[in-house]
Symmetry: C2
Subunit: 203 residues, 2 copies
DNA sequence: GTCTATACAATGATAGAC
DNA sequence: GTCTATCATTGTATAGAC
């Protein structure tokens, strides 16, 4: 039980989760089979099943990882100098960082009707919502910002590395799937500055 | 070759596509097997394969259906009295109509790494983008509106009929996944009214 | 047009060797 | 810890009966 043995920078467990995440994100839920994950992690199916007794357990591992990273991100959002809005919008389509990868991977699971994955996404969304609402104030505007963030995320998830379009590669403007993030942020910052937004709806 | 026989309101072909669409949307790509689709359409696997020679062909059928409905919607968007923005936002999360169902279904295919499905979604997105840009004028604002629409769509796709949340069911305000659409529309209408939005970014 | 029977590959999982 | 059988099940597809 003592861990006096050297712990590699990436344990086998973590490498398996990395592989699972990558396969889900890049090739979808159906392609993320135990064999494919194992192969991608450099071990065999049997080896994988030693670490994660079943696919359900493997999914649990991914969900736990996401949950942890969402918690970290929410903490970071509060201490962000640029403010939560800019933080959220800027980090949304970055498929580079670990949070994004986990989020996209779990999204794939959610689309495959996995209820636990859906619950995890919902929880993450609500955590972010609260964080943004706290500084923005207005619920409608907060929801609007969240939707933009969602749109960016899902857009990035749908059209990954993105094959260049035939047209519209030349102009300086952002293309359909290469949105002008800074422009959007500026737009939203303008909105947050408008004071009397709160009373937009009167039921 | 003469179609003097009565054509049922819903031909078997259409019923199969309906079933495929429904299964994709409600249970994900993996659940939409030939057998499940056939059963849901009230025929057998063999019967299905008479109409659609393979799963690829079945997907072709769905893609063609989406393409047609997108074209119809774009036409409608132009003649819409409420304007394209309100039209787009209002119809986004309505999982009721035929366009939405096809769109969600094809999204599931796209998430499963089907390149044709991705292409179809991209084409649809660009058609809408052009339609909105035409009346809104500003590219950044147009992109922002599209992202909100995307967020609504995918949000609705992730959390279907939606299990009621434990909390936040009592207040009049919209919940995390029951956004205040009219409020958002009002917000966006305000933005479109602001004239000097165009010069938001100066690279 | 629709069905049953069958072929064949792939998936999740178990058992046991190393 | 990791691997190689091996198994039951399911997915797509073909062939041919009705």
């Amino acid at each position: 039980m003592t861990d006096n043995e050297k712990t590699p920078a990436t344990s086998t467990r973590e490498r398996i989760l990395d592989a699972f995440e990558a396969l889900l994100g890049e090739s979808g839920e159906r392609a993320a089979t135990l064999e494919a994950v194992a192969g991608s992690a450099g071990i065999s199916k049997g080896g994988l099943l030693y670490h994660f007794g079943s696919k359900e357990v493997l999914i649990d591992g991914l969900l736990a990882r996401l949950e942890m990273m969402v918690a970290l991100d929410v903490a970071e959002i509060h201490s962000s100098e640029a403010g939560p809005v800019a933080h959220l919008i800027r980090t949304s389509p970055t498929t580079g960082n670990t949070l994004d990868r986990a989020l996209v991977a779990v999204s794939r699971l959610a689309q495959a009707s996995n209820s636990r994955a859906r619950q995890a996404l919902r929880a993450a969304n609500e955590a972010w919502y609260e964080a943004v609402l706290e500084t923005v104030g207005d619920p409608v505007l907060t929801r609007t910002i969240m939707l933009i963030s969602d749109g960016l995320y899902y857009g990035a998830a749908f059209f990954p590395t993105d094959d260049p379009h035939p047209a519209a590669t030349f102009d300086t403007a952002a293309t359909a799937h290469q949105p002008d993030l800074e422009g959007i942020i500026a737009l939203l910052e303008t909105l947050t500055a408008i004071p009397s937004r709160t009373g937009v709806k009167a039921p």
